[in-house]
Symmetry: C2
Subunit: 138 residues, 2 copies
Amino acid sequence: MNLATNTKIRMTRQRQQILDHLSSVKTHPIADELYQMVRQQMPRISLGTVYRNLEILSDSGIIQKIDVGGTQKRFDADISNHAHIRCVKCGCVGDLDVHIDVDFEDAARKACDFEVLRHRLEYSGICPDCKDKKAVLM
Amino acid sequence: MNLATNTKIRMTRQRQQILDHLSSVKTHPIADELYQMVRQQMPRISLGTVYRNLEILSDSGIIQKIDVGGTQKRFDADISNHAHIRCVKCGCVGDLDVHIDVDFEDAARKACDFEVLRHRLEYSGICPDCKDKKAVLM
DNA sequence: ATTGTATATAGTAACGATTTCTATTATCAT
DNA sequence: ATGATAATAGAAATCGTTACTATATACAAT
Ligand SMILES: [Mn+2]
Ligand SMILES: [Mn+2]
Ligand SMILES: [Zn+2]
Ligand SMILES: [Zn+2]
């Protein structure tokens, strides 16, 4: 299951907490980070519940799962179309509103025999914090 | 260690086989697929050796490790700058020579506080084989 | 060709992220 | 309030990848 389903989902206390916490941050947390956040309010929640709900919420199109390399998937309550940049030093992920006026899919259609569906633009670099740390060491 | 190192590496029989097999295909195989290929010639090679050598070869800049989503990393003996497209049905990965005349890094620099280093453009779609299979079912 | 030594190997165990399993509990349309 | 269905906690399992270790190999110097 990968696209948004139109099945209505039950709103459990756990699911609501996960969604609330994810909505309140701009950091693109991994599953375990959300687990730690929600545990403050619900100490008995299980990590499996966090994983399952993140899956259900992203399948429903309410949040998005993002894969910017590295070993862990990240999650974003902002489902608008925007790019991401990952810090090669600390692994943090930031938003990036680049608007490049190019029809990417169309360009790709001319270059292969696939039925082109979507594209993803991802950046890597060094975040402000890590830039500062580097400066201190010099 | 992530960038090309200038340390010279020993050429073992195992390493040569892995490199030869990878160079002979255009399929962007995963580690286990290369393991199966090399096993035809060297039945005693261990999967750990395949993983270690793929790491060493990509650190040396001789091959590239590519991450196009999904759970497994893929490898490519073609180190030229080109994009990839992944089939959402079967997971196969194809090459894509799209040349979009845009300074991606520069566009990103204006949109965030990161020191922008590089970008990656990735596509997903349906490969020719899976298009045919779908047609047969209709 | 022989040697020395740093590096690589096979085989196996460990790891870490994610998924699956199952008995119990909660949601929500009726 | 009831009951059908979906969700939960907690634990075990899965799977890609990495680490460990005793033995073997590559290769530069002799
Ligand atoms: Mn975002
Ligand atoms: Mn390629
Ligand atoms: Zn950073
Ligand atoms: Zn396909």
